[in-house]
């Protein structure tokens, strides 16, 4: 029931957020030096032609009218047309979505799957050599810029060893390799970008999970469990794990933007044909409808991510249900 209320609350919260954010970016784009239309002009367009294009795009109207117009379209899911390709923005998004989903979902699964055991072992054995090893590795992980890690991955595994391709999504020669062949080839391409994201994002979460587990180790209820004769493993896996998962869920929700930005640069670096690469390309070419659409989608994704985190929290913790 409370979960329902959380969802509704987040959804209502989404309205001012989207309106506010799009207004800010809209004004910024239009106030910044260089008219949005100027990027599409050929240098030898006549002034008259330019005015015509502006009129067709509605750029001659007052900003408020333009914004209202644009917002009305946005709400209906019509993000306009790319200045660069002329294709509808939504179509470009849908083309890019599978690649991004593949990368982000698989990295999220791996991150959680590696963080939980690593942090838990570390927290349950503070001061052991494995704990110190994990602490040092995560410290290194926190300090490495994602894009540089990616570059090093390419340098070692692609340039020197030649094990994995340095860029792309699918080998074009393999277009008729059948299901299994395509799958393996995609996996082959996925490994480097995937592990770049995973290694870069793992460190922070593992440290949080470690300190959460370590703090719980001396909680009265854990000592009470011991006093009732429960085994250490049972205490760790049943009683501590669920409690330690709580801060982890919050952190995961808060880290979503960082995860997204990491994925951005990684997609760019590995020429992974996802939304992030599209985003950076549109920023460079000042493709405004695309930029606005991406900001819009990014904000919605963030809200949904936080909503999921809220729900997961409520599901685990009976006190806020």
């Amino acid at each position: 029931m409370i979960a329902m209320r959380l969802i509704v609350k987040r959804l209502i919260w989404m309205v001012p957020l989207l309106v506010g954010m799009s207004a800010v970016s809209f004004v910024m784009i239009h106030v910044a030096p260089g008219d949005p239309a100027s990027v599409m002009f050929d240098p030898n367009f006549s002034v008259k032609d330019q005015a015509l294009v502006r009129k067709n795009l509605g750029l001659d109207q007052p900003l408020v009218v333009q914004y209202g117009h644009w917002l009305a379209h946005m709400v209906r899911g019509d993000f306009g047309y790319s200045y660069v390709t002329g294709k509808p923005v939504v179509t470009s998004f849908l083309e890019r979505l599978p690649a991004t989903l593949l990368l982000s979902v698989s990295s999220l699964v791996l991150i959680v799957g590696i963080t939980l055991p690593l942090g838990m072992y570390s927290g349950a054995h503070p001061g052991s050599w494995i704990d110190r090893l994990i602490a040092n590795i995560t410290l290194l992980g926190l300090s490495v810029p994602t894009f540089w890690l990616g570059m090093m991955m390419i340098m070692v595994f692609s340039v020197w060893l030649g094990w994995f391709p340095s860029s792309g999504y699918l080998n074009p020669d393999l277009s008729e390799a059948g299901f299994l062949g395509t799958f393996l080839d995609r996996l082959h391409h996925l490994i480097l970008p995937l592990f770049t994201i995973v290694i870069a994002s793992l460190a922070g979460l593992t440290r949080y999970h470690r300190s959460g587990t370590k703090q719980l180790l001396n909680e009265p209820f854990v000592i009470a469990c011991r006093a009732r004769g429960l085994s250490e493993n049972r205490i760790l896996f049943k009683h501590i794990l669920k409690n330690a998962a709580l801060p982890l869920i919050t952190i995961l929700g808060l880290e979503l933007p960082a995860l997204m930005s990491g994925a951005f640069v990684v997609e760019y670096l590995f020429a992974w044909p996802g939304m992030g690469q599209l985003g950076i390309a549109s920023i460079f070419s000042r493709d405004y409808p695309m930029i606005m659409g991406l900001l819009w989608v990014g904000a919605i994704l963030l809200i949904f991510g936080n909503m999921l985190a809220d729900m997961a929290y409520a599901w685990v913790d009976p006190r806020i249900r």
Partner: protein
């Protein structure tokens, strides 16, 4: 002050970068932007004359790394100072104001936190001409929310602590209460998060410069050096390794110092 060895080593490392970056500019009068015309034409591998090798234009990598250190450290420092002061101000105001102001301010903080910050930074950098000051302001303006939340939470909990209630009962004014009794208690954790924030700011700056949206060439920064190195990954790996190691060392140093500090706070 009692800090673990690793923290002292980190402090020393940061100092080394700082002194090194000043030294090449002042006593040694070396210019990281000029290059030896005899060497133009290709990156030279590491040698005695150029310990970390040279880049494609024949410029010494070590020299440019040190010159980049000054930029990275100052961008990190200034943007963190900006973020910390905004965060402190917002947090204190929010924690000390009547509930409706507090609620309004916190909604605003939520709003900023819900923005896809990185993409927004990129867009802003493209719209305004990329410059060092823009980088500083943009990073500072998008990374104060954590501090604000932390300060507010600690003010709220301190307000209810007995020693504050007692001070209030003694008739101390709000301002005195704020600056003499509450601020000092919130300062230590704020400084710790500023230390970690500096590492974060340096990382963000490097990404921006790497994408060509931060510090502009020929002015060397670790990020734009890495961008240059992209096309020479096969011939000149040192061009990619040296600046990257600089980033890792400096960010790691801030993290180690922050951790050590945190530990000290918890012990007291």
């Amino acid at each position: 002050m009692k800090l673990p060895l690793s923290a002292w080593v980190s402090i020393g490392l940061l100092g080394l970068f700082f002194v090194g970056s000043l030294a090449i500019q002042w006593p040694l009068k070396m210019d990281a932007q000029s290059f030896d015309p005899n060497l133009v034409g290709g990156p030279l591998s590491p040698s005695f004359a150029h310990i970390f090798g040279t880049d494609d234009a024949g410029r010494d990598t070590l020299l440019r790394c040190l010159s980049g250190a000054k930029l990275s450290l100052s961008i990190g420092l200034v943007s963190v100072m900006m973020a910390t002061s905004i965060g402190l101000a917002v947090g204190l105001v929010s924690g000390f104001s009547p509930r409706w102001i507090d609620a309004g301010v916190m909604r605003f903080v939520d709003f900023v936190m819900a923005l896809p910050t990185f993409f927004l930074i990129l867009s802003i950098q493209v719209l305004l001409k990329p410059s060092i000051w823009n980088v500083v302001v943009v990073i500072g303006a998008t990374s104060w929310m954590g501090t604000a939340r932390m300060v507010r939470a600690s003010v709220l909990s301190l307000k209810e602590r007995p020693f504050i209630l007692v001070a209030r009962a003694r008739g101390l004014s709000s301002r005195r209460l704020l600056f003499k009794h509450i601020l000092p208690h919130t300062l230590s954790p704020v400084l710790v998060s500023a230390m970690l924030g500096m590492g974060h700011a340096i990382l963000t700056e490097s990404v921006l410069s790497f994408l060509g949206l931060g510090v502009q060439p020929p002015c060397p920064s670790w990020g734009n050096m890495l961008e240059d190195s992209l096309s020479y990954m096969y011939q000149a790996p040192w061009m990619a390794i040296a600046p990257g190691m600089c980033i890792v060392c400096v960010v790691m140093a801030t993290a180690v110092i922050g951790d050590a500090w945190q530990e000290r706070i918890q012990q007291i």
